[in-house]
């Protein structure tokens, strides 16, 4: 639970995305360009800018980098998207005409990478797929239901369901099943057989703009955050979902990320990622702020006294014997100095993961940490077998920094809390 490294890449970063082996990161420095940096492992390394993608006319609002195909898709306020393909060390753009009359806000590749979805200010979402015959990306628009700007989207692992959040304060689930692109069997979901563009669920839990929606790795849980400083968890997504809302003590969140089926990291205007965890009954609790530069933790109103007390205790102990952390922290006392707008899972962490991790931690430590994790699992079986845990994630924000966080020892920490 520490900051591995922090990189000041621009004045302000609107979005960022990693490639499959985490050797490169694509960043939009809050203008119409996308800069690709070669990411190095040392903590204080200076990352080299290797490519600049110039094609958009206005602010690039979102980037997504497909791990398998290595395509980059960008969305911009100029109402268009480009799919970028690396050919002989040059990124070649292909224009995708979205047919929108307002800005594109967010873009995500589907898990199978045969489709991508774009959220827009035109109260609609586009689902785009590649048409082999015409050598062309086609955009199909879901115009129904949204009453305001769609701020974020997330693909269900089944490649068909699409969750959206919007500034009409609602979270919705749509079907993005496309005949001819998806296999017929894919149309069968938790909601029964679905057709393209159908709204399957509408959640009305937030009282402010909704942001940052994500499906859990299994697709059973959905989470999103509201600008009224709430976070919402929806379990058993399907005909009879269970919803839980946590009201936070502090400023609103902007984005969320599943570390595993039962752990979530969320970040936003407090400039400090927060860890949430579901207990054995499936009730979500705020565990703690992750940035150790700041005094922990402000409690949720529904959080238990017990965890709160332990969180405080741990924080004090940490500060007592780890003075460097306190000294190196900046004035605002967090590593991020402005709102965190984007959380990214370097989740496809393959064997190359060590590339961005500090060199003092050799790759072999991965083995030991995973075996430690196995042990912990026996004490506190928080995950079902076969679950993949995210050990590292990155955040970018309005302060122009990309920060990489290490949460590989989180299981250990949480079980210590519980004992």
């Amino acid at each position: 639970m520490a900051v591995v490294s922090s990189h000041q890449l621009a004045q302000c970063i609107s979005c960022h995305a990693w490639n499959a082996d985490l050797s490169m990161v694509a960043v939009c420095p809050n203008n119409n360009e996308v800069h690709i940096y070669k990411a190095l492992s040392f903590t204080d390394s200076i990352w080299d800018r290797v490519h600049v993608l110039r094609k958009h006319d206005q602010l690039v609002s979102s980037i997504d980098w497909a791990p398998e195909s290595n395509y980059i898709v960008t969305a911009s306020h100029d109402r268009n998207s480009y799919v970028w393909n690396l050919e002989q060390d040059e990124w070649q753009p292909t224009l995708v005409i979205l047919r929108l009359n307002r800005a594109a806000i967010s873009v995500k590749w589907s898990p199978k990478e045969n489709k991508f979805a774009v959220a827009s200010g035109a109260k609609s979402i586009c689902v785009c797929y590649y048409e082999q015959d015409n050598n062309w990306w086609v955009s199909k628009i879901i115009r129904k239901k949204h009453n305001s700007t769609v701020t974020n989207i997330s693909w269900h692992p089944n490649n068909v369901l699409l969750a959206t959040t919007s500034t009409d304060c609602k979270c919705r689930v749509f079907s993005a099943y496309i005949k001819g692109v998806d296999a017929r069997t894919d149309a069968e979901t938790a909601f029964g057989e679905v057709k393209f563009g159908e709204q399957l669920m509408q959640l009305d839990l937030a009282m402010g703009w909704a942001f940052g929606v994500k499906w859990s790795p299994s697709g059973k849980t959905l989470t999103y955050v509201g600008h009224d400083s709430t976070i919402h968890f929806i379990g058993d997504v399907g005909p009879s979902p269970i919803a839980q809302t946590l009201a936070l003590r502090d400023l609103p969140l902007r984005d969320v990320l599943f570390l595993s089926e039962r752990r979530i990291v969320a970040a936003g205007f407090d400039c400090n990622p927060i860890l949430f965890e579901a207990d054995n009954q499936g009730t979500w609790n705020l565990i703690r702020f992750l940035d150790e530069g700041k005094l922990p933790p402000a409690e949720t109103k529904t959080g238990t006294q017990f965890l709160e007390a332990f969180g405080k205790f741990h924080g004090q102990a940490k500060h007592g014997n780890n003075i460097e952390i306190v000294e190196s922290s900046n004035i605002s006392n967090t590593h991020h100095e402005n709102c965190i707008t984007s959380l990214r899972p370097p989740s496809k962490l393959g064997d190359d993961a060590h590339k961005i991790l500090p060199s003092k931690e050799p790759p072999c430590s991965k083995v030991s940490s995973s075996s430690k994790f196995q042990l912990q699992r026996m004490i506190a079986p928080l995950l079902s077998r076969g679950d993949k845990e995210v050990h590292y994630f990155s955040t970018s924000g309005l302060d122009g920094k990309i920060i990489i966080w290490d949460v590989s020892n989180i299981s250990e920490f949480v079980s210590r809390l519980r004992l």
């Binding site: 500034t167 009409d168 009282m207 402010g208 703009w209 600008h227 009224d228 400083s229 003590r249 109103k301």
Partner: protein, 143 residues
């Protein structure tokens, strides 16, 4: 982010009053008598809780909202010891109380504002910025 013309447009369609205003007003009337009793017995926290409970936030009828505000206002102004008032009030009342504090500040009446501002400081200390953000963001449940 929303279009100028659209902002709030979705707010008002499909709105149906859940129950007639007269019923709400009668209920508030009954409530106010109980609240008076509690104030006389110096049970300010109980009085405040009762005043805040079942506040007519969903209705659009200003008469109901004003009627309930008068009850809440009565308790707020009668209370001297704000520390103990807050320390005995359960956190689930924080958001709704904060809404009424802002309503009080909006009146511009000097003693009301003074009292609300004092309470606002103490409530913010306890409930944090999240509480303020929530009541500013919420455009459906207004007091």
């Amino acid at each position: 982010m929303a279009d100028e013309g659209d902002a709030g447009a979705f707010d008002f369609d499909e709105f149906v009053e859940a129950e007639p205003s007269e019923e709400i007003l009668t209920r508030i009337e009954q409530k106010s008598h109980l609240v008076e009793q509690l104030i006389r017995q110096s049970k300010f926290t109980e009085a405040l809780k009762l005043a805040l409970e079942d506040a007519p936030t969903r209705t659009r009828d200003e008469r109901c909202k004003s009627a309930n505000w008068i009850v809440v206002h009565r308790v707020l102004m009668a209370t001297r010891d704000l520390e103990s008032l807050l320390s005995t009030l359960e956190p689930e009342y924080d958001d709704i109380l904060m809404k009424y504090l802002y309503r009080g500040l909006a009146t511009g009446d000097r003693p009301t504002c003074d009292q609300c501002l004092r309470l606002h400081e103490k409530l913010t200390e306890r409930a944090g910025m999240g509480c303020i953000i929530r009541i500013l963001a919420d455009r459906w449940n207004l007091v």
